[in-house]
Symmetry: C3
Subunit: 470 residues, 3 copies
Amino acid sequence: MSSTRHYLRYFSADSAQRDMAYQLYQQVADLPLICPHGHVDPRLFANPDYQFGSPAELLLIPDHYIFRMLYSQGIRMEDLAVPRQDGSAVETDHRRAWQLFANNFYLFQGTPTGIWLTDELVDVFGVTDKLNAENAQTIYDQIDEQLKSAEFQPRNLYDRFNIEVLCTTDAATDTLTHHQAIRDSGWHGRILPTFRPDAVVNLHTENWRNQITTLSHVSGINVVDYASFIQAIEQRRAFFKEMGAKATDHAALTAFTTHLTDQQADIIFQRALRGETTDIDAAQFTGHMLIELARMSVDDGLVMQLHVGSYRNHNKHIFYRFGRDMGADIPIASEFTQGLQPLLNQFGNNLDFSLILFNLDETTYARELAPLAGHYPAVKLGPPWWFHDSLNGMRRYFDQVIETAGIYNTAGFNDDTRAYPSIPARHDVWRRAACDWVAGLIVRHIVDEVDGSVMVKALAYDLAKMAYKL
Amino acid sequence: MSSTRHYLRYFSADSAQRDMAYQLYQQVADLPLICPHGHVDPRLFANPDYQFGSPAELLLIPDHYIFRMLYSQGIRMEDLAVPRQDGSAVETDHRRAWQLFANNFYLFQGTPTGIWLTDELVDVFGVTDKLNAENAQTIYDQIDEQLKSAEFQPRNLYDRFNIEVLCTTDAATDTLTHHQAIRDSGWHGRILPTFRPDAVVNLHTENWRNQITTLSHVSGINVVDYASFIQAIEQRRAFFKEMGAKATDHAALTAFTTHLTDQQADIIFQRALRGETTDIDAAQFTGHMLIELARMSVDDGLVMQLHVGSYRNHNKHIFYRFGRDMGADIPIASEFTQGLQPLLNQFGNNLDFSLILFNLDETTYARELAPLAGHYPAVKLGPPWWFHDSLNGMRRYFDQVIETAGIYNTAGFNDDTRAYPSIPARHDVWRRAACDWVAGLIVRHIVDEVDGSVMVKALAYDLAKMAYKL
Amino acid sequence: MSSTRHYLRYFSADSAQRDMAYQLYQQVADLPLICPHGHVDPRLFANPDYQFGSPAELLLIPDHYIFRMLYSQGIRMEDLAVPRQDGSAVETDHRRAWQLFANNFYLFQGTPTGIWLTDELVDVFGVTDKLNAENAQTIYDQIDEQLKSAEFQPRNLYDRFNIEVLCTTDAATDTLTHHQAIRDSGWHGRILPTFRPDAVVNLHTENWRNQITTLSHVSGINVVDYASFIQAIEQRRAFFKEMGAKATDHAALTAFTTHLTDQQADIIFQRALRGETTDIDAAQFTGHMLIELARMSVDDGLVMQLHVGSYRNHNKHIFYRFGRDMGADIPIASEFTQGLQPLLNQFGNNLDFSLILFNLDETTYARELAPLAGHYPAVKLGPPWWFHDSLNGMRRYFDQVIETAGIYNTAGFNDDTRAYPSIPARHDVWRRAACDWVAGLIVRHIVDEVDGSVMVKALAYDLAKMAYKL
């Protein structure tokens, strides 16, 4: 990562394309940020005086993109101050953890994590030196001091980042107290919840029955069978919608969908209540619920997001010690054409329904996803997800999706991050990648400059806003 | 799409590569068009005075590439004047349908459909303005007027397009009356039939038994069992060959092949005659017949084409209302290495046999197809098919196929279209893409200019002619 | 292939990237060659006066990359002097075989085989004319004469090629007599064995029981059950390690791993001894042994290589006539995420274990392999293998692997060849490709020049040396 960033960074090496890209980029660089999907904690905005902790607490300890790579090179997560589930001792000196990170920052050469962090250090914290073993503590001081200032409180960064709207991701059982506090505070920022019922829909969730108990509690509906389960889900959706939600989000290992009768669904549900869930039960129930959740989206107008293909908690050693979301989720191959057919044949032609698909298997872009999005009115494609939220990932996405789906069957960009200060960098990478791709179309005379300008604005701003009805 | 097209269009942004590409392109741009596989209706040439209908009838209503995209954005196919199967009312004013298309032409930005249509409007109809809501009716008039002139009769376009030979695709039960009429007319154009027996080979064809009845009728062989079925197929192949056919064509969901005994095949065939076909029956029978059809190709010398991986009629809503080929076919992942092994172990080493493979799963290019084509004497690879018949699709094909297969194990280009006036544009895109790819090899000193010239001529003309024995 | 090679060959067309690539290339072009995995016969070095045979014996007859392509175009392998297993007559005049090859050398346009051979002819043999029908015999003479000189003895080429270390691949039952002879000779060259027990681990090996008999013989352990089998394997590993081995190598059709109890393993092993192996037995046993071999690597520190996804001997016609490794191995799709989980959950977090993965299904690069390597301390990715050991294959590898895994979770390059004189050309292609890729990062301001220099040196030299503990 270069320590001083060039204004033409990330654009094509070719001078004609690069110049065109920059011309387009200037048209979109300052547009407000639409953040329709992500994992920022609403707590940051509930308290007007919220302060971030140490540089390590902000940038290192919670970021599995970063400690994943360090762990892969034999660095213990305990030494990075990542907390153990059992409360065992881990490094408590954040400066030492930061030093270890800085010593190994070279590992991120050529990675999106390296790009985001460098951009963030420069643009958010004014740190222009490349992080290394020697300057680690000086840079720590620089960041630490700023984090204590009012300028770095989340609400002030919201304005500085030029965010127009930011959606969080919230469990079905969440009471949205932080969202309520934000509303009550009268602050002008627009922070919206998103309904994510995975923990109650996936029968294999750890302590699933406790989740159901909580669901009963927060919904006021005693969940004792499939029918009352559906009622409780609908109650929560109505509540989320009332609280401003525009969308739901669902994660599934595969895109398999299937229609069960209510009776079949109830038999599985009862087995689950008795703690007798089989793997087939869980797969069938998720496959059925995806259709049922689509039905609800048709009814209440919430946009349905589906994230497919992440094999969670692959490394049991890490899972038992550190829990979920610890950099040990590994993608698997996905299938959409046959898997989604039951759902799409029921609701895919419905103009009131919108299904945004995310996936970690790029082979499906040109083969399945673009053809589905380029045909079914309900289907849109989300931006490249997770491991593919990168310069190469975006280039492959544009190259493989757009010829068949066009840009208007995509949902623009979302940052999908819990790392709040990295949001501008992530949108900037997307905008630069989009401008470079459109510039390539222009210099090769595939589109003209007039259309190109419309396209980059759509990709940078309009498409996300339209897709999520924001 | 730019309204005035640049002579360097579609070439690489890099000026050295682009200049080299154009130099190569000038060597092949005017070569005659070899069209060994496509879906143009032979009726167009049977009647010397054939006239196309309205602009919408020519360019919009029959083109599922176009209405697929419009449908994906919520536009009803009825409003585009696409006929319903049940005869329900659809838009009858072609000007209104055209207007709706023009209003939404921006959806095709960056798509091959947009490129073909723009090239076609400019080169075939002299329309240089970019189609939009304002000029829709004026452009309609421009096209409409020309379509009424003798210059736009298909036979005259054949000469204008510089077509050397054009193969149609015809059902096994087709009596080839239009082909006979073309022959009888003494016209110099070379229009050849291709034998495609899918409707009788695939036991899941709608009204399969009626197909068999027709087969009996046209072949003069009473098809009552597997043996007489094979005889009838052979009779039709002999007839097609007599009528000038050089090739057969076969579509299958997968590349699975398997050898059944005659007795096993007959048991399945008898079940099919009784209307008791199972999914396994259909898959087994197709897998067996592919080997049997290969055997016939060894005998009669007809080149065997195999198109794999399209899940047909995915959207039942559309299928019931509008029928087949309505933009709702979605690809699935394919497997060739193990699937084709039984067929290839029987006939793959036979120098009298030629099998041209087409597929919609690009992951098989470098992994399976190029290694198979780069080893078995019988195997050749067809050009990028359908969704991949595009600038990016071609670049990926060249990049992933040629290093392992070389260009001489490919079958050059075919346009595979039913949209007759788009043929020159489709070949031109291929020729430009091929020249740009070879130019990349030259400027990177991977091949020299002498070899490069030979390669682009092969890709533009020779390979298709050789592969199909034309 | 151009006959005189340009010093900027294989770099990007873009002049800025190309110049940067060349600047980087000059930093690594003359580094010694690290050859940690390959198939050069140790016999070449055991005898100080070893002489190669004819040009055809050196360059054509043993090289399945070459005769595979010629065979695909209908040229009989017998006519290329490739020996039949049954001793049937084949061409004995090597000049005629060479002529046939030269006549068809154009088939290799744009292929890595063409590149290697051209580079090799120029750099090793000083042949600057492009091989063709006319100059075939003159070039044959040129090569033939040189092969008879001392300069072309393998030990002298070792120095000329600037090889630092070269690892061979040797069966578990090999007594390593050639390696012992090399040691005894006091020669300074570093030729190390690699332990590859596939023939005894894969229960489907032809004459597997004979292999076990030989294993008993060479290990001095009477292999009568699973326990003694494991003991014998361990004995051989200890012997190989004593003889300088740094690594083991294992080929498997899939990456499936599973843990059997000793009793389960023994039941399968006993069935195998009785000649009653089923397909499931063989798959289970290999899956189990991979974990067991990983356990041994943890114990003895030998680096474990795993090559996955080649369907061997696809063409039975060729297999029966010519045997193994005859250009008829075809890749299949691979799965790592779920397949390797049992092995990785047992040993993937162990810092004493190193597992280098090779594979022929590029779709796993970004989807599975890079995420696994970017998380598990034990996992590293080998360079693009076999069909993907090419300019495009390397570019795809860099583009799809590094953003998620970084370069430090890769194992640099290995040439994996039995064609000794092609080794410098293969490393040179990798070094050029690596420099071009890093140059692309620099000119797009993703990394700076300082980091870029470190990266190219790592890719060209350090990473292979570190990964194999050389």
